[in-house]
Symmetry: C2
């Protein structure tokens, strides 16, 4: 057995007026609780340091730059890195990244037990839209504020296992898990902020949104025989509700832990990385069963083209 | 609305000693029941005409040729084609195909309302093994008796919609649905024979097998915003149990009908093909959101290669 005790650190809402200092204090409290429960790794949500700002339309995009981090770590988050190193706990969280040359990404990082950043991922599947859309019940302007990630779906060796990351909407796309599965991924860490109502279909509420969250994570785990840790920022941010439902899913696609609240809530579960081996060696032995000669459209065609 | 009334015609077991005549009579009874319930399309299982013969090891592969059909239709199945045409019902079923030039495939066909074959699919993801394996609780010799399909994952216009097919183990692979999704598929028809116990993991029984069946079909439907019709051959064939659990899944990934028995059982559900549009135009608008530049490994690499 290669056991990793994983803490999924769901956070409740972060209001627009709240600063990073408030958030980081809450994250530290979750980290201390995780340490008390013996966690080796703590996973926080997407855009963990701020409110989910892509719901706010700013005509001048640069007006959003205050939500972005220009370096990582920086002064605001240094207490997280120091505490994690002291606890000898690896850590992953998401944040808005502004690069020195002016690029904007929806990013997540992964550290080792010493607080060194060993992995960086930039969200590839940006949902939503780039311009103000009066048809929607609320705005979801990720395509306005971020560029699609440019780092692919890498994996890293950490804590004795092979880990990958994805962010929010990435989890709905089987390509996300498969590209990592083809690199032998054993655990995928995913943060998300998911509005409780579909902005384009008002009768699609939180129950269905939670169902799709579970379905996507469970299928990705099963079909690649890996652990999936999916962590929400949840609750009501300035009148805009987000689902909770953070999950730990085993390599059989079964949910082994699920958050019950829409607030700061810690799930801790012992994850045996060796439990990924059976699926990878049998039904999802890719080398034995995949037939890439018939998958060509997946990479050669972006949009759907119906037959004549 | 573009309504198709779909009949998922699960069949119970077919014993090794039973002839095609016995099976076809049962299939005709299900077809008549489907007609009485107003079905436009009836979907039968994988290898619908015989017992699931890949469980039987034959040293000389040619000894299995008696399970194969050398032409389609042939005398044994002509009553099905004639009755379907009389009922103006489209039809799909699976069978073992032996081509004039000696190739063996695990095949499914699709007809129009007049009994004309409009589509043929040959199973691509063959599970199991090619040689007798004393380690298994039972044999699963699909890699012995069949070649991988050579027709890709085509789709066809039929009954006013866009339809595709897959066979059994194909349904566990997201590539299957995605290649069809990229052709705008609105309904995927899948037959299966799934042993109730994992041959390599005796403690994996029918509950987990049914769970994986549901998970795979639901994820494929949701992630491509299409209907999935998954139809079992079920029950105890000569001492070897197969799961039932035939399903009709809507484009939101929700199960709208599920078989309760392991016997001949008909599920009939009205499927609105226009219900596929919302997902295809929003969250799974492939043209807007897919990033093929990061999917390269899916087609360039067959087996998993862990990082150094």
């Amino acid at each position: 057995m290669r056991m990793i005790n994983v803490a999924a650190a769901q956070t409740g809402p972060i209001q627009r007026a709240e600063g990073r200092d408030v958030v980081v204090r809450r994250m530290l409290a979750l980290m201390d609780e995780a340490k008390a429960k013996g966690a080796d790794l703590i996973v926080y949500p997407e855009l963990a340091l701020t409110t989910f700002f892509p719901r706010w339309y700013m005509e001048n995009r640069a007006d959003a730059d205050g939500w972005f981090e220009r370096e990582m770590p920086n002064d605001a988050v240094r207490p997280l890195f120091e505490r994690a190193a002291r606890h000898e706990m690896a850590m992953s969280f998401g944040y808005a990244e502004l690069t020195p040359d002016g690029h904007h990404f929806n990013t997540a990082i992964l550290t080792d037990r010493s607080g060194n950043i060993v992995g960086k991922y930039r969200k590839i599947h940006l949902p939503g839209h780039a311009e103000f859309d009066p048809e929607r019940t609320h705005q979801h302007l990720e395509k306005r504020y971020f560029e699609p990630g440019d780092l692919g779906f890498p994996v890293w060796r950490n804590l004795g296992g092979i880990m990958g990351m994805a962010v929010c909407n990435d989890r709905r796309w089987p390509e996300t898990y498969r590209v990592m599965g083809l690199q032998g991924v054993e655990m995928v860490l995913i943060g998300y902020n998911t509005p409780s109502v579909n902005a384009q279909k008002a009768d699609e509420g939180p129950e269905k949104r939670l169902f799709h969250n579970r379905l996507s994570a469970q299928a990705g785990a099963y079909q690649n025989s890996c652990w999936v840790i999916a962590v929400a920022k949840a609750g009501n941010e300035d009148g805009h509700p987000l689902i909770g439902g953070s999950l730990i899913v085993n390599p059989d696609g079964e949910i082994v832990a699920e958050a019950k609240t829409e607030d700061d809530e810690l799930l801790v579960h012992p994850c045996d990385l060796d439990a990924t081996a059976f699926g990878k060696q049998t039904i999802f032995n890719f080398a034995a069963h995949r037939r890439t000669e018939h998958y060509g459209l997946i990479t050669s065609r972006t949009g759907a083209i119906p037959p004549p």
